[in-house]
Symmetry: C2
Subunit: 245 residues, 2 copies
DNA sequence: CAGTGACCGGATCAATGATCCAGTGCTCGA
DNA sequence: TCGAGCACTGGATCATTGATCCGGTCACTG
């Protein structure tokens, strides 16, 4: 009647839920990714090691390899996961331009909220969150009347623009918080001042001289792209058969 | 009168130039960078290690650290070095648009010629080659009559666009050559076919479905940006004081 | 000829990604 | 009730890599 050697019947309710007294959920792929994102946000990309990640999860580093094949998996999953926060506009709207703007703006916001993501943009993004948003972008453009070759160019151009923007902005601002003294921007600023004879225009009007508003610059450039897309879509709609203009 | 123990007077001309019979130049920062670029071009970014680089140079790995402080130095120097190949258009021209197009196109060509560079774009680019070309870009735009806030937006937008383009294209084509079988693009293609019900538009019109021409797409998007810049410059020129429109 | 300083590299360290393999406890069928 | 199997864990361990220590080599100088 009595249980095994180590406990009596009903013990289960007295012992902590097996999980070695740790209150954390049983360690799943999702939990690992979630913690990885937290770690990346707090300490940056170069501080993410399997050991440190495991430590934060309260497990051994080797355990992670049961749930994931490689460290790159963590990065790929983390990268896709953050895009879940990009809201997909309701596709009811008539205004494709507003929808695209909302999507791209949200996209950019996520990239900037997680500066480490910029460095990862060089890897194939095939996760469900990314694909769903790409799908929406394409669908919206198609509905707006954008046709090839402008369709590919539009999706491609918009994506490139966001990616480039995030990458550039992350480059010049990311470290400022962590190393206020040796901030990249600060060092660059002094460099320009020193070499202002060699780079006169850059020193006078350069991004670091003007200390421009990233958001405004981004919006202006996005507007240019959308204007172009819109114009070509309209032209294609008016003269479906004749060569444009 | 006789020389040292190991040689007699005039020996210098008989012995190989000290350099332990190796014909290579005496190993300078420049030579290291040059070889690093060759290594990166041939084998990719992840194969660049200090040991391997040293081996190719015929020296010990530690020697490199006399010429450079860290491995990142190698990368930063290599990244800047490749931009020397971007020709700076003569600034005589009246046609700012052609000049900018030439610069941006050359910029892109270099990035694509050295696919490993795309992954490095996340680091501050403050080398002389990059700065000289940025200087030219700004100067050309200023001469074209572009004023703030469009000036910053234009330089920023153009840069972002090239960077993003190169990054994206490198992502989807780079590995195709090295691993023809497991090419990223191929895997993605199959993924789309499998999930074509979930991503219908993407499967039908997506970049991998259309297999679009990167160059054409790039040119179209660049045209949109330039159109926007041109229009705003013209507007600013016509009505310098009144608010635009 | 001793001394100096530029330059080189073997030995070595610490960090890291990844694997091997021996567990540990739960579940389920007999 | 029990034992086989499975999901899951982690200590020990390896190879690789960036970086440093420190002792060497060689030309040149006074």
């Amino acid at each position: 009647m009595a249980g095994k050697g180590s406990g009596s019947a009903g013990d289960v309710w007295l012992r902590p839920p097996t999980r070695t007294a740790r209150e954390a959920p049983p360690l799943s792929r999702d939990r690992i990714v979630e913690e990885a994102i937290a770690l990346l946000d707090e300490e940056g990309a170069d501080r993410l090691t399997m050991r440190r990640l495991a430590e934060r999860l309260g497990t051994g580093s080797t355990t992670l390899y049961w749930h994931l094949k490689t460290k790159d998996d963590v990065l790929d999953l983390a990268l896709d996961a953050i895009f879940a926060a990009v809201e997909i506009p309701g596709n009811d709207g008539r205004d494709w331009r507003a929808a695209v703007t909302a999507l791209i703006t949200g996209w950019r916001a996520v990239l900037l909220a997680h500066p480490w993501s910029a460095a990862l943009l060089g890897r194939p993004m095939l996760g469900p969150n990314v694909l769903a948003r790409s799908e929406f972008l394409y669908a919206t453009l198609v509905k707006a009347g954008v046709v090839e070759p402008h369709l590919t160019a539009a999706a491609y151009g918009l994506s490139n623009y966001v990616i480039g923007s995030a990458l550039m902005q992350a480059t010049w601002t990311a470290r400022a918080e962590q190393h206020p003294g040796s901030a990249t921007g600060q060092a660059a600023r002094e460099r320009f001042r020193a070499d202002s004879d060699r780079y006169p225009v850059l020193a006078a009007h350069g991004p670091l001289a003007v200390d421009g508003d990233w958001d405004t610059s981004f919006a202006i450039g996005l507007g240019w792209l959308l204007d172009g897309i819109q114009a070509d879509a309209a032209a294609a709609g008016e003269a479906p058969e004749s060569r444009s203009e």
